[in-house]
């Protein structure tokens, strides 16, 4: 092959790799840099490199404030995930399978909630709770988080249900299955990727949310609110940095674990990597 032709062929590839690399650096560079500095033996996050230490990590792990905030966030995010998953799946079923008047209106309202800024939802929640004179607490945070994650779950699970071939449901009924058996044996195993994606998103949204938790929370803080609070003293910076690195790493591992699990699952069903990607991106679309 002549050289010019070879260059012509290799060029798109090289460009693609270059561009991807650039995007990755811009996106994750700062995060990785922070993670790196969490091992720097200095209270300021900047060069020069003062030496490797795990001091900030042991401090973070021994910091009662950090640990209880993380604990609160885990509890809130778990409750929010389970509640919004159950409610959202039921709502998705209604929206995609049961014809009723004003169905598109209801679906539209769900979509609308997704684009309202969290700040506004947080303030609205604050006003609402003070109107009904409900004391702010982790419960009020949980309630307001569900307001946001519920439509998210509805969007993701509905997408899965719309892609789901309804003749599979009929086939199950045709062979004598009740509605419940059809759900259990046919529908749920099929929309499992959508449910998993919805669960991950709901959990991450709730766990990472600052605005809503800030306005509708009481004395007990969630992790982002705690971070905001302690960051006012710059001496806390390395500890926050270490704690955030742990949290970020845990979330990344969670998502990758899920991705890998789904790949295994589609492989077992005779699908390809592409099917797995299709299932996951399809669940999000």
């Amino acid at each position: 092959m002549p050289l010019s032709r070879r260059i012509e062929r290799a060029l798109p590839n090289a460009l693609g790799i270059g561009l991807t690399g650039f995007v990755l650096v811009v996106l994750f560079g700062p995060v990785l840099l922070l993670a790196l500095f969490s091992f720097n033996d200095s209270t300021v996050i900047s060069l020069p490199w003062e030496g490797f230490t795990t001091r900030w990590y042991s401090e973070a792990l021994n910091d009662d404030g950090a640990m209880s905030a993380i604990g609160h966030s885990l509890v809130v995010a778990s409750v929010v995930t389970v509640a919004s998953l159950i409610l959202g799946t039921l709502a998705s079923w209604g929206l995609t399978r049961i014809p009723f008047r004003g169905r598109s209106l209801v679906a539209g309202i769900h979509g609308a909630v997704l684009v309202v800024p969290w700040l506004i939802i947080g303030i609205a929640g604050l006003i609402f709770f003070s109107q009904i004179e409900l004391a702010l607490s982790l419960q009020t945070i949980t309630l307001m988080h569900i307001v946001v994650t519920f439509p998210l779950v509805v969007a993701v699970v509905s997408a899965g249900l719309i892609r789901f071939d309804p003749s599979l449901e009929e086939a199950a009924i045709d062979m004598g299955a009740s509605q419940l058996q059809m759900m259990r044996y046919v529908v749920l195993p099929q929309i499992a990727p959508s449910l998993a994606a919805a669960a991950i998103f709901a959990f991450a949204w709730s766990f990472n949310n600052f605005e809503i938790s800030f306005f509708t929370g009481g004395f007990e803080q969630t992790f982002p609110v705690w971070v905001y609070g302690v960051l006012r003293h710059s001496s806390n910076l390395p500890v926050v940095n270490a704690a955030s690195t742990i949290i970020a790493l845990a979330q990344v591992l969670l998502v990758f674990g899920l991705w890998y699990g789904m790949k295994l699952m589609t492989k077992r069903r005779g699908g390809t990597d592409r099917d797995a990607a299709e299932m996951i991106t399809g669940a999000v679309r």
Binding site: D165, S167, L168, A171, I173, D174, A177, S178, R268, G270
Partner: protein
């Protein structure tokens, strides 16, 4: 036995199925044939229970099931896209109905093995649908339905997604499975050849109505309507004004006891002969060849007769060295009186 009585289905203002009456006998291979949109699928889905009729009755084995839930009807459906459960392997798919019915392990196992063997899918039990070809998926779908030992199997264009060669193979296979199991098959198709080769009886449907339900031979030889004559095989439809049409270039002889007045007749292309001179009796028409099409075992001629109508003629290619008639050639076509089949007048609708 499946009995449909004045079965009607309306979607809004549109009537998809219009007062159908049908009786399907046990063990019969019964087809519903008609152009797209004529109401075949809707009829089948009403028998399965997935559509509720607007009016009329459905009986299975003498029992009124018009309002029975599909899960309690002793019929099973084979869907056009197979509708196999993608997350289950072949064995689990076939097992599904028996698992729901909580059939004993030993009997279930035996039935599944027998069914998988009947559709020649041994050795594929652990594969998932995504790892099977279209024809194999089709066979699994068949096994999954038949393992429930339904009183009737409902099939909605089950071969529609297969290529021609595979379709031919599967036609034979379906027919043999049907005969083996003795199950009643209600088979929906828009392919007349498929319906004729496989079925004991065929209901020809048009616009939500059954035009004629009969065995293939009767449909071909004695169609009840111009639509049936036209839809089944190739036919030459002609409207004959009064009694006979006689002139210098044409003479139409009708069978004895034909009605007076205007009639519509159909003449099958293989009954028309190209002759050298006007025959003494029977029908003939002078015309000009417009086109000849070589079809292997026969040649199809399109001849324009003097009255302006075009007739299709099939000539068997059974003589070596016969020159095909070139376009423009003047010919005389002849056929006997009994081959002018008079289509019965439709009663008041």
């Amino acid at each position: 036995m499946i009995t449909l009585s004045s079965l009607t289905k309306q979607f809004g203002d549109a009537t998809a199925v219009d007062a159908i009456d049908l009786e399907i006998a046990d063990g019969e291979f019964f087809s519903m044939l008609g152009p797209s949109g004529c109401g075949k699928t809707t009829t089948l889905r009403m028998i399965a229970g997935f559509e509720e009729p607007t009016s009329g009755r459905i009986e299975l084995a003498g029992e009124d099931v018009t309002w029975t839930s599909p899960r309690r009807r002793n019929v099973n459906m084979v869907f056009q896209n197979y509708a196999l459960f993608p997350h289950m392997n072949v064995r689990e798919n076939v097992e599904f109905g028996l698992r729901i019915k909580k059939l004993g392990k030993a009997e279930a196992k035996e039935r599944i093995e027998r069914m998988v063997a009947a559709v020649r899918m041994e050795g594929f039990e652990d594969r998932h649908p995504a790892q099977l070809s279209g024809g194999q998926q089709q066979r699994v779908a068949l096994a999954r339905a038949l393992v429930n030992q339904p009183a009737a199997l409902l099939l909605d264009e089950p071969l529609g997604a297969l290529d021609l060669k595979l379709r031919k193979e599967m036609q034979l296979e379906l027919k043999s499975i049907q005969q083996q199991t003795g199950t009643t098959f209600v088979y929906v198709t828009h392919d007349q050849e498929e319906a004729l080769t496989m079925s004991d009886r065929v209901a020809v449907m048009n616009g939500g109505k059954v035009e004629q339900a009969a065995d293939p031979r009767t449909l071909y030889q004695r169609p009840d309507s111009a639509f049936v004559a036209d839809f089944i095989g190739t036919s030459n439809l002609m409207t004959i004004p009064t009694g006979q049409r006689a002139g210098e270039d044409i003479r139409i002889a009708l069978p004895a006891a034909s009605p007076n007045g205007e009639v519509t007749i159909t003449v099958r292309p293989e009954k028309i002969k190209v002759v050298a001179s006007e025959p003494a009796d029977g029908s003939y028409a002078r015309g000009t060849v417009l086109e000849n099409v070589y079809l292997g075992s026969m040649t199809q001629l399109i001849v324009e007769i003097r009255s302006g109508e075009r007739l299709i003629v099939h000539q068997l290619n059974d003589e070596d060295g016969r020159e095909p008639l070139a376009p423009g050639a003047a010919v005389i076509l002849a056929w006997s009186a009994e081959h002018s089949y008079v289509i019965p007048e439709k009663g008041p609708q």
